[in-house]
């Protein structure tokens, strides 16, 4: 079972936008879609390290701001001809608060 940690209110993220959370395993981008779903992805594009948190969010996809690779936030998989995978983390919404997988508090070595 996943244990969650509260990282802030939903309102802190604009619709179709993202905010970054610093974690023991690097920066995680927490996205909010047009219809208030939240997703958490590693904030590092597998292509050349672009910050996905700065990408354009459309539906449940996000486009990397550096060279336009597109990722499905459900699976972290690159779309179309590009091949690659971004790590995803459990995240959910509860009573207007965003909850993130608490294991992210720990450093990667300990995980």
């Amino acid at each position: 079972m996943t244990i969650f940690v509260d990282i802030g209110p939903l309102d802190a993220i604009p619709r179709q936008g993202a905010r970054v959370v610093k974690t023991g395993q690097g920066c995680v981008a927490v996205f909010r879609t047009m219809d208030d779903q939240v997703f958490a992805l590693e904030d590092r594009c597998p292509h050349k390290g672009g910050p996905l948190s700065e990408g354009i969010v459309h539906g449940t996809l996000v486009t990397c701001p550096l060279h336009n690779w597109v990722f499905d936030m459900n699976s972290g998989a690159a779309q179309g001809a590009d091949e690659g995978h971004v790590r995803t983390y459990p995240a959910k919404l509860q009573g207007g608060r965003i909850l993130l997988d608490a294991t992210l508090i720990r450093a990667r070595s300990a995980a």
Partner: protein, 815 residues
């Protein structure tokens, strides 16, 4: 009448609303003599159908028609009616409830007090003329608004029914809604847009993203003031921003209360003699706002009161808005989530939108607008968790439909009125083209020859062909490619349709033009955002989330995720004080590189995102604004020193450059826009490879356009010459506006010029003085909005924290 009086158990009910009304019906039917019932109600009347207040408000029904239980009914069931007698206290120890006229003992007590409307705590909320929408008194106040101004705060179900009802009574109604689209809890943006359009057709003004700051007035309400400064006059204000369970009595009696009065599956509260049902309860963490589950509760509670086992299990409820002519339907969960898929159907011509959300081949959510006939069928499939795999392809067309045609991509063109302009260059309307086709012009060349439609820049060719195809009833040659995979319409078509159909938001464009995806993509969203802000500078609210990172963050992102900051230096001129402020900022924020750019200003490279607003505030304090070195908009105006210092200079090129930059900064353009002004043909400012250049000569100013010095290197071409600096400026503003209004997103001027031709541009901005004046005026209107510094807007105390991480878990104790 019966004379056998056995001492029956006493049931006291607090609240004569929809839930308790149904409970009494169930109880009297199952066991007519089980209880002596005393019924308290705060309202001076018995049970009526609260849902039907909206038809009463709009005049479609009278109050008498919506009464559920009248005096005869209560008498027949020996109910002791204590109407207009609010209960003030429950004495649980002695099992007595009290009103101001005395007590009533009970063996069993039912609390059914419903909800209380939520009042937003703004100044003026208590002024006479401010009402909510809950009971007959509220309804009567709103019925009295004919010819008056009414403001409804809240664009959910209740607010919109109130608004439509008052509009039907002849009031001038404005709806203020906090969120980006109406009924955001039930509808997605596309359906919300259609709803807004239908309400606007009834003369209702809708103001989304509007936060109420205060209700104004002396002795009674006079107006509503929003945070953004808008003021709407109001003779009546209806607050419909939500409800909360009415739990005060239960709280005072120390029953277990969370959001609502906590009840178990049998609807018993924490006291075994006290029961509750309706909107005042909370069951397994859930509270209620629609009647369907309350009726189920009534059934269960009737059994519980008769000592029969029964369990309440809420079912999903669908929502319909009761505004005649606005058909919408929403049920289930329609948010995106892992493993979910959408089936979307749009018929722009008929204003229809349907969306099904699927998970594991089962429907889990339905949103429909315009045509809701199949709602119940979808809802049935959803409730039964039917595997829709076998009918998936045709599911969206409903039960009657198996294997039909795909939606018509030409629908948007089909619904255009005959006077809609198709060819902007030559002012040719749809009707004119249809007449030409009817008169025998059945090839594109023939239509061009007799109407001139698409005969100039040609960018409307696709639309002209579609009009011809509609008229002829078949396809006419190939139309240009769609702007991206989300649509078959070309950039030019989309732009023209935005104009002729008056589309003012991204959801509006996507709906009316039949977008195939739910939220567009990274290629169409920035383009649409630009087209809309260029078309409707005063109405359109820039959508930051539809912008590329640089324009969203007002800085250039670097390959390592840091940013560069370039303050504006008007015409490349700076001062020691500015340089000092730049140097200070560079040191304060540890800027790894300070570089002079090719655009005659200074670049601070490698700034961390969270430092941006602080650095901007420092630079703002020294009088500097954003250089927009990141924008598809005005970048720099590069100048030479000109005749002020240079021994061969002919005009004040520096001064002209500064004037131009001060007029044009902040403007958004289809692609980046760089200017240069040289003081003589030696051209030290390299003006002849800029988008727009000025080369000064003894006799005045040569204006040149269409240069480039990127992957493509091109020399500018001569547009006009004038002896007057003022006229040079007007021509430059006019050509900029022409470019803004006509070029495809991401076309530089040279590319656009290649499509429409320099001659056409010259005819518009040099020869046609009236048109030039109009273009300059439209540019000025737009600049009245956009000539402002984004850095100042974004370095405020409320914005600055948003640039930092949302949370830092590395600081949390690892446990």
């Amino acid at each position: 009448m019966s004379t056998t009086v056995i001492s029956r158990k006493k049931l006291v009910v607090i609240g004569a609303g929809m839930a308790s009304g149904r409970l009494l019906e169930q109880l009297f039917e199952a066991a007519p003599g089980a209880y002596d019932v005393t019924l308290f109600n705060a309202e001076p009347r018995g049970n009526y159908n609260r849902l039907m207040l909206s038809p009463v408000l709009s005049g479609e029904k009278t109050y008498e028609q919506i009464v559920t239980h009248d005096d005869t009914w209560y008498t027949a069931h020996h109910v002791d009616c204590r109407f207009a007698e609010p209960v003030t206290r429950i004495d649980r120890k002695n099992r007595v409830v009290y009103s101001n006229s005395g007590g009533a003992p009970y063996d069993a007590l039912v609390i059914a007090t419903g909800s209380a409307p939520f009042i937003i705590p703004v100044p003026g909320k208590d002024l006479p003329g401010v009402v909510t929408y809950r009971d007959l008194e509220d309804t009567q106040a709103m019925m009295d608004t004919a010819g008056k101004d009414a403001v409804v705060i809240g664009g959910g179900l209740l607010g919109l029914e109130a608004a439509a009802g008052m509009a039907a009574r002849g009031a001038r109604v404005t709806v203020i809604h906090l969120m980006g689209h109406l009924m955001e809890r039930q509808l997605d943006p596309a359906a919300g847009y259609l709803l807004q359009k239908d309400l606007e057709k009834r003369g209702i003004t809708v103001h989304c993203k509007g936060a109420t700051k205060a209700i104004l007035g002396n002795d009674r309400v006079e107006a509503v003031l929003l945070e953004d400064g808008t003021v709407y006059p109001a003779d009546l204000v209806c607050m419909a921003v939500g409800i909360r369970p009415e739990v005060r009595l239960a709280n005072d009696a120390h029953l277990e209360v969370e959001r609502g009065i906590v009840v178990d599956d049998a609807l018993r509260t924490s006291d075994p003699h006290v029961f509750a049902l309706g909107e005042c309860v909370e069951h397994r963490g859930q509270v209620f706002g629609l009647v369907a589950p309350l009726y189920d509760q009534a059934k269960v509670l009737a059994k519980t009161l008769l000592d029969q086992p029964a369990v309440f299990a809420p079912v999903q409820t669908a929502t319909k808005l009761k505004v005649t002519g606005c058909d919408l339907y929403s049920a289930g969960d329609f948010a995106d989530a892992p493993g979910r898929e959408d089936i979307v159907f749009r018929d722009p011509g008929r204003g229809i939108y349907k969306r099904l959300v699927l998970e594991d081949n089962r429907i889990i959510g339905v949103v429909m607008y315009g045509d809701t006939n199949d709602g119940a069928w979808f809802h049935g499939l959803m409730k039964d968790a039917t595997d829709i795999g076998p009918m998936r392809d045709t599911l969206i067309f409903g039960p009657a439909f198996q294997g039909g045609a795909a939606p018509d991509p030409m629908a948007a063109v089909a619904v255009l009125p005959p006077e809609a302009e198709i060819c902007g260059c030559n002012g040719v309307s749809k009707g004119t083209i249809m007449d030409a086709v009817a008169g025998g012009a059945c090839t594109l060349d023939a239509v061009r020859a007799c109407t001139k439609a698409s005969a100039s820049c040609g960018s409307c060719t696709g639309l002209v062909q579609q009009v011809m195809a509609l008229t002829l009833g078949g396809a006419v040659a190939d139309a240009p490619a769609g702007m991206c995979k989300c649509t078959d319409h070309s950039h030019e078509d989309v732009r023209r349709l935005i104009r002729s159909m008056g589309l003012k938001s991204i959801p509006a464009v996507m709906q009316e033009l039949g977008w195939k995806s739910v939220g567009g993509c990274h290629s169409c969203r920035p383009a649409l955002n630009y087209y809309l802000l260029a078309e409707y500078p005063l109405d359109y609210q820039d959508d930051r989330q539809s912008r590329f990172v640089n324009e969203r963050n007002h800085a250039n992102i670097q390959k390592d995720g840091t940013y560069s900051v370039v303050p504006r230096m008007w015409g490349g001129v700076t001062t020691p004080a500015e340089l000092r402020a730049i140097a200070d900022a560079a040191e304060k924020y540890d800027v790894p590189m300070v570089k002079v750019t090719g655009g005659q200003r200074i670049d601070l490279l490698g700034v961390r995102k969270e430092d941006l607003p602080h650095m901007w505030a420092d630079l703002n304090a020294a009088g500097m604004v954003s250089g927009a070195a990141y924008s598809k908009g005005l970048r720099t105006v590069k100048t030479c020193v000109g005749k002020e210092f240079c021994r061969v200079g002919t005009q004040d090129s520096t001064g002209l450059g500064i004037r131009l930059e001060k007029l044009m900064w902040g403007s958004w353009t289809p692609h980046k826009l760089k200017l240069g002004v040289s003081g003589c043909p030696r051209n030290c400012a390299e003006a002849t490879c800029k988008d727009i250049g000025v080369v000064c000569v003894d006799s005045g100013y040569n204006i040149v356009i269409g240069g480039a010095a990127g992957m493509e290197v091109r020399e500018t071409e001569h547009l006009a010459s004038t002896p007057s600096e003022d006229e040079a400026i007007r021509i430059i503003l006019a050509v900029t506006q022409l470019y803004r209004e006509n070029a495809r997103y991401l076309d530089r001027i040279w590319k656009w010029m290649g499509k429409v031709g320099l001659d056409w541009i010259r005819a518009q901005v040099v020869d046609d003085l009236e048109n030039r004046r109009a273009l300059v005026e439209r540019f000025e209107i737009s600049q009245s909005v956009y000539r402002r510094d984004p850095w100042a807007d974004l370095s405020t105390p409320s914005e600055t924290p948003k640039w930092a991480p949302l949370a830092d878990l590395t600081l949390e104790a690892a446990e």
